[in-house]
Symmetry: C2
Subunit: 138 residues, 2 copies
């Protein structure tokens, strides 16, 4: 994927709205780690659910994280990738939790994913790849 | 994706052999970063190409990195994810470079991606997701 074009913040947010799965990178004492997570874009933040004792639950609190979403087509060597970087914030306010739950694509099952982490999209960058570099979805 | 099953190292390596694109996480002074990259599995190592002044080129030398490959199907809430963690090694030996180039799926175009980084797969973990947790590809 040699050719690429930088995406505008608006283009990045449009991609973040259309996708449902991304990958969060956190720093751990043993180096970076990556975890795939479903998410929603809510109130200008990427919001994920995890368990308090998971990799993200352990290392994302007040820590810097990166969240990447992409659609990459190997056959045509084209696609896009968007990365949000910043400080993960734990969402504990009941009204905010209810609002996030409301826009989640599937009902929240009872379980261990009781921790909700939000990442502001103030630092968002993205690229489209391909010969034309105008691909907006795979 | 509530249900999951841990994959064996052999299952992880099988997935690494079948995919062509992954995401590398590196630690930077500004926090973790994630970059999508095409790769090959060569001689037990994940091998990627980048430019010396890229994010990976700048932060992967002798640094701890994580490389993630996945196939996640949102509709069926199933799929798999494999993560390799370790120290990125710059490949400079001409014979090794020739061997990597030989197994690359497309010819290497002239350009700026002159830096070849290899990550041993000694630390590899993976999970399959889904109600059955036996999904091996999306």
């Amino acid at each position: 994927m040699l050719h690429h074009r930088d995406l505008s913040p608006d283009e990045c947010l449009a991609h973040l709205r259309e996708a449902e799965v991304g990958r969060m990178a956190v720093s751990t004492p043993g180096g970076p780690h990556i975890v795939p997570l479903t998410y929603v874009l809510h109130d200008g933040r990427v919001v994920v659910r995890t368990s308090p004792w998971s990799i993200v639950g352990t290392h994302a609190r007040e820590g810097l994280v990166a969240f990447e979403v992409d659609a990459l087509d190997v056959a045509s060597r084209s696609g896009w990738s968007v990365v949000v970087r910043g400080r993960g914030e734990f969402v504990t306010d009941p009204a905010q939790l209810a609002a996030v739950r409301e826009c989640w694509p599937v009902p929240w099952a009872a379980g261990t994913r009781t921790l909700v982490v939000a990442l502001p999209t103030t630092d968002v960058t993205g690229r489209s790849f391909g010969a034309s570099s105008v691909v907006h979805s795979a």
